[in-house]
Amino acid sequence: KMYYKFSGFTQKLTGAAPTAAYNPQGLKQSLPAESPTMIFATPTKVVSEAGSTVEYLGANKVPDLQKFFQTSDGIPVHLKRGYPDQLLYRTTMALTIGGVVYCLVALYIAAQPKKK
C-alpha cells in the first residue's frame, strides 16, 4: 500500500513514509496545533507611559551623595570619602616630596662639570 503526503515543494502528492502520512506535515503528536496564548508582562504598557520609574543606566544616587558630602564634620572635600581619598592623597604627596628630592639630586648631578 502506498502512502502519500502533500509535498510543499512540488505542490503535488508524492510518496511518503507511513509516519509522514499518518502525521501530516505541520502536525506532530503531542504538540498542540496552535501556539499557546502569549502572556506579556502584565499590565502591558507603552514605553512613553513608563515615565520616570524606568531606570536607564542606573538609578540616581545624587541626593544621597549630596547628603553625604554635606555632613558638617569639618573634613576638607579632598578627604571627605575617608580611606580611599586618604590613600590617593598620601600616594600623591609621597610622589610629590620624593619627586622634588629626586629632581634636586638629578639637577645637582647634571650640574657637575664633565671629567676629561
Binding site: 543606566l57 558638617s72 572635600v77 600623591t92 610622589l95 610629590t96 619627586g99 647634571a110
Partner: protein
C-alpha cells in the same frame, strides 16, 4: 550649616595646586634630563603626578559643585569667564603656529625652491582623508549641540546617545589622522614644510584627544545624573572647547591642507 553672608565659594584648603606645581617642575627638568642623560624616570614621575593632580582636583570640583551646592549663579559666572579666557589663550597659542606657517609659505626661500609647497614635498590630497576629517568634526559639532538640547529638555536617553556619538566621532577623527600620519610621504624633519605641518596638526590632534576626554567625563557624569536641565556648566565648557577644536581644524584645513597644497 553655611555661615557665610555671601554667594561666593571659599574653597577648603587643598594640596592640589602644590602637587600640580611640582608636577610641572618634574616634567620640565625631566625633559632636560631625558635630553642629556637618556633616562625618562623624572619626566614620567612628573607626568604621573600631573595625572593624579588633575584627577583629584577635578573630582573635588565635582564634589563642591554637584554634591555641596557651592556653584551658585555668581560662582558659575566666574567659571564661565574662566573657561572663555582659557580658550582665548589657546587661540593665541595656535595663532603662533599659523604665523609660522604663513611666514614661511607666503615668501618661500630659495632653499625651498622659491615655491610652496617646497620642491620635493608631495602634499596630501586635501579632498581625500582631510576632507573626511572635516566632515567628521562638523558632524560632531552637530551631535554635541543635539546633546546640549537633550540635556536642557530633560531627555536623558537622547543626551547619552548623542554625547556618545560625539565622542565616537572624535575617536574616528583621531584614528583617521593617526593613519594619515603613518602613511604621509613626508616627516617632521622634512624642512619647514614638515615642521609647520606636524607641529600645527599635532597640537591640534592633542587638543582633539583632550576634548574627547572632557566629553567622555561629561558622559559619565550625565549617566550619573549630575546634570540638570538648567545647571550643566561642565558640559557647556566641554562643548565650547569642542567647538574651538573644530574651528581650529577648519583653519588648518583651509590654510595648510588646501591653500598650502
Amino acid at each position: 550649616m553655611a555661615h557665610q553672608a555671601h554667594a561666593y565659594h571659599m574653597v577648603d584648603p587643598s594640596p592640589w595646586p602644590l602637587t600640580g606645581a611640582v608636577a610641572a617642575l618634574l616634567m620640565t627638568s625631566g625633559l632636560a634630563i631625558w635630553m642629556h642623560f637618556h633616562t625618562m624616570t623624572l619626566m614620567s614621575l612628573g607626568l604621573l603626578l600631573l595625572l593624579l593632580t588633575m584627577y583629584q582636583w577635578w573630582r573635588d570640583i565635582i564634589r563642591e559643585g554637584t554634591f555641596q551646592g557651592h556653584h551658585t549663579p555668581p560662582v558659575q559666572k566666574g567659571l564661565r569667564y574662566g573657561m572663555i579666557l582659557f580658550i582665548t589663550s589657546e587661540v593665541f597659542f595656535f595663532l603662533g603656529f599659523f604665523w609660522a606657517f604663513y611666514h614661511s609659505s607666503l615668501a618661500p626661500t630659495p632653499e625651498l625652491g622659491g615655491c610652496w609647497p617646497p620642491t620635493g614635498i608631495t602634499t596630501l590630497n586635501p579632498f581625500e582623508v582631510p576632507l573626511l576629517n572635516t566632515a567628521v568634526l562638523l558632524a560632531s559639532g552637530v551631535t554635541v549641540t543635539w546633546a546640549h538640547h537633550s540635556i536642557m529638555e530633560g531627555q536623558r536617553k537622547q543626551a547619552i546617545q548623542s554625547l556618545t556619538l560625539t565622542i565616537l566621532l572624535g575617536f574616528y577623527f583621531t584614528a583617521l589622522q593617526a593613519m594619515e600620519y603613518y602613511e604621509a610621504p613626508f616627516t617632521i624633519a622634512d624642512g619647514v614644510y614638515g615642521s609647520t605641518f606636524f607641529v600645527a596638526t599635532g597640537f591640534h590632534g592633542l587638543h582633539v584627544i583632550i576634548g574627547s576626554t572632557f566629553l567622555a567625563v561629561c558622559l559619565l557624569r550625565q549617566a550619573q545624573y549630575h546634570f540638570t536641565s538648567d545647571h550643566h556648566f561642565g558640559f557647556e565648557a566641554a562643548a565650547w572647547y569642542w567647538h574651538f577644536v573644530d574651528v581650529v581644524w577648519l583653519f588648518l584645513y583651509i590654510s595648510i591642507y588646501w591653500w598650502g597644497s
